[in-house]
């Protein structure tokens, strides 16, 4: 099949089933559309035909993706972007399990949550102590996870659990797809300082996971996770501009407008601070735009690694400047004091970026090690059997 043929076919498919003006399927709901895309093999075009794909090479896959992008249609390119599906495809060993779950994942029929962090394993994720013990065809799971979003609506949790305590910490971890709707799983919302409860604690008490649900070999869970995270970083980097711009719709504040409203736009001190806060945001946007240009020209760009750390400063600075603009009114809160409530929320929520998903400190480690090539942090427990490490012995 030639490139031209693929282009013709995918465009015909899109024209037939997708209304690109209205950005919706010509018939049925989005889930029906996703099913059609999946059945046509466009969801994971680079995968073999016997594995729901089309067996296309990299360039051919790009043709499919371009056509979908042009039509603003979802569903294609999941061989890269659906990291859970890709991890399963590449690392899961049980064929039956893959045949059962992959179609559900690729058509968006199941929801997934992440059972990674634990109270004792935050920045040091490899120090997890949730244990998975093999009993017949199952693993029996005991432990506690935290910072899990979407736990209540998820069908499965991607679970990091320790299967071997007598090897160094990175080597004894296995990666399991854990059914969430079972008696041994107790989900409790975390009350955040923002007032939200986006996250949960998940207490796991003798829950079971079929051994066939394991992704990668026993003890290879850390490697599987790292591969998935590397892909995620790449994708996040590529999409950062759009995603940030997208999410920033609600996120970006016009400090100018707030200052004007507060009657402080002519205050020279406030103007300096508005300038600096706005500059941080604009500079980050310019960095991302330049990085995308460089990547489009085929060179890799170190800048993508900076985005999260930069965003942390942007969000904290925004909140600080808004506070200064509001002055005494920043002491208030609640619906009657919308601006104050907003800045209070931002003040607290900025920590979601500076702590969540790797603290600013961890980000600086990553940047200095991976981008600048400075030596790795000394890891005292790297080669110690986990059982004897301070994560266990305290």
């Amino acid at each position: 099949m030639s490139s031209t043929d693929i282009k013709t076919e995918v465009e015909a498919f899109l024209t037939a089933h997708w209304d690109s003006e209205a950005r919706r399927p010509r018939e049925g709901a989005t889930r029906d559309w996703m099913q059609k895309v999946f059945e046509a093999g466009w969801a994971v075009a680079s995968w073999p035909r016997e594995w729901f794909g089309r067996g296309l090479d990299k360039d051919e896959s790009k043709i499919v993706l371009s056509a979908f992008r042009k039509a603003k249609a979802p569903g294609a390119g999941q061989d890269r972007t659906n990291i859970t599906a890709a991890s399963l495809m590449n690392f899961a060993s049980d064929e039956d399990f893959k045949r059962e779950i992959l179609p559900q994942l690729l058509t968006g029929k199941v929801q997934i949550c992440l059972l990674y962090s634990e109270p004792g394993a935050g920045s040091d994720l490899a120090a997890i102590r949730t244990r998975a013990e093999r009993q017949g065809d199952d693993y029996v799971i005991n432990g506690q996870k935290v910072w899990t979003s979407g736990a209540r609506t998820a069908d499965y949790g991607l679970l990091l659990a320790r299967t071997d305590w007598d090897v160094p910490k990175h080597q004894g971890i296995s990666f399991l797809v854990c059914p969430m709707r079972q008696p041994g799983i107790d989900i409790r919302p975390i009350n955040q300082i923002t007032g939200d409860s986006h996250f949960n604690e998940v207490f796991i008490d003798n829950a079971t996971v079929p051994a066939k649900n394991r992704i990668g070999a026993e003890g290879e869970g850390w490697k599987v996770l790292q591969t998935a995270l590397a892909v995620e970083r790449l994708i996040m980097g590529e999409g950062a501009g759009e995603r940030r711009q997208g999410s920033s719709k609600s996120n970006v504040v016009s400090l100018i407008a707030i200052a004007k409203e507060a009657g402080k736009l002519q205050d020279p001190l406030i103007r300096q601070k508005i300038a600096q806060a706005t500059a941080y945001r604009q500079l980050n946007a310019l960095n991302i735009a330049r990085a995308k240009e460089e990547m489009a020209q085929g060179s890799s760009s170190p800048i993508m690694s900076l985005g999260k750390l930069a965003m942390s400063r942007i969000l904290h600075t925004d909140a600080a400047v808004m506070t200064q603009i509001l002055g005494a009114a920043s002491m208030l809160d609640g619906e009657a004091h919308e601006r104050a409530a907003d800045v209070n929320y931002r003040t607290a929520n900025a920590y979601m970026t500076s702590i969540g998903g790797g603290t600013d400190q961890i980000q600086r480690n990553i940047i200095s090690e991976r981008v600048l090539g400075l030596p790795r942090e000394v890891e005292l427990d790297r080669d110690v059997p986990f059982r004897t490490s301070r994560a266990v012995t305290g």
Binding site: G327, M331, N344
Partner: protein
């Protein structure tokens, strides 16, 4: 100057610290936060029994004749515990104002009950801009009637007595108002920090009694006393949340060692220690200067006002970051300190204002 000796002051402070540890720990604070009043009457009695409501009142009127030096010491403990309630508004602001008046009747009538804690008084100063300057007074007096609004009034919701700063012709005067009287409407303001309760008070031909001998200068002197008490609160709170954080850094293990062993974290802690120590020094120096009535008082009060506000805010904000995820949860106390830091940073004027005032004082001294 104070009639309380150094050893006595230390004893008062330590007694207060024990009381707070006993009756105003974090759990108790969270209970008070959940109440409508934000006030723990039992704790208030105990505080009054220790004489802390009487610190700034002279013995003639049932007080103990202390000074701002004593108050500052006490407020370091109050700040460490994030004490809720009317201690600042009643025992510091109201007591200072009435004591400064030439109104023998008002003093005899009001001070003893404030000293004993029986009366809780609150002082309404600033208008809606929240600047705490004489340019920003929202209440006007005509004869013995008040009109207008005062904003950000501390603990007015539990006050038995209001002292209202009002414009009076060309000048400024202070009026005694019954919060229950007609023409007085209290709007409780919802705040981000529920350990401090603020109100906006609207006066519509509200009946008021002028307290003789209090002018704009007296109000400004009272505000400086309040600023130093607040600076003490900030210094104490700053130190406590810093200590909590350093303890966590010593014990929280990640990557096989306490996170306080990671150099970047150590260095943040070292820099914060400078802020903590500076806040303490600034608050105490301001108290000494104000008590002595020295020429350097305006300079040192302004310095303490912005240095302590900034230090507390910086340390409280860093405390959350250094704790990581655990401090992002409601149950951890770190955010309570950040909430208080944000309120304290606004009360009686924000840091930019005090920096400006500090430079003016330096100019005058030059």
């Amino acid at each position: 100057m104070t009639m309380i000796g150094i050893e006595e002051r230390t004893a008062i402070r330590e007694g207060f610290a024990r009381l707070l540890a006993d009756k105003a720990d974090e759990a108790a604070l969270r209970r008070v936060m959940a109440t409508e009043s934000g006030h723990d009457a039992g704790l208030w009695s105990a505080i009054a029994d220790m004489g802390l409501t009487a610190l700034l009142i002279d013995p003639e009127h049932g007080g103990v004749g202390g000074s701002i030096v004593d108050v500052e010491a006490v407020f370091e403990e109050a700040g460490a515990a994030l004490l809720a309630g009317p201690l600042l508004s009643s025992a510091v602001m109201a007591a200072t104002l009435i004591s400064a008046s030439s109104d023998g009747d008002a003093k005899a009538r009001l001070l003893p009950a404030i000293a004993s804690g029986q009366t809780i008084a609150s002082v309404a100063v600033t208008g809606d801009k929240g600047l705490w300057t004489l340019d920003d007074i929202g209440v006007s007096a005509t004869g013995s009637a008040l009109n207008g609004a005062a904003n950000y009034v501390i603990a007015a919701n539990v006050a038995d007595l209001l002292l209202v700063v009002a414009k009076n012709g060309d000048g400024v005067a202070v009026y005694e108002v019954d919060p229950g009287a007609g023409g007085v409407t209290l709007e409780a303001l919802k705040g981000w920090d529920s350990t401090i309760r603020l109100s906006r008070i609207v006066f519509d031909a509200a009946p008021a009694t002028r307290i003789a001998g209090l002018d704009g200068a007296a109000v400004e002197r009272m505000l400086d006393v309040a600023r130093v008490a607040l600076a003490g609160e900030q210094a104490g709170a700053c130190r406590r949340i810093f200590d909590i954080t350093v303890e966590y850094l010593r014990t929280r293990v990640q990557f096989g060692r306490p996170i306080g062993g990671f150099q970047a974290v150590k260095h943040i802690a070292a820099d914060l220690l400078i802020e903590v120590e500076s806040a303490t020094s600034a608050a105490r120096a301001a108290a000494q200067a104000l008590a002595a009535g020295g020429k350097d008082a305006p300079e040192l009060v302004s310095l303490a006002a912005f240095a302590c506000a900034d230090a507390f805010h910086e340390v409280a904000a860093a405390a959350i970051q250094l704790h990581g995820g655990i401090a992002f949860t409601w149950e951890h106390p770190a955010h309570l300190y950040l909430r208080r830091a944000r309120v304290d940073a606004q009360l009686f004027g924000a840091s930019d204002y005090h920096r400006e005032r500090y430079v003016s004082a330096l100019e005058n001294a030059a």
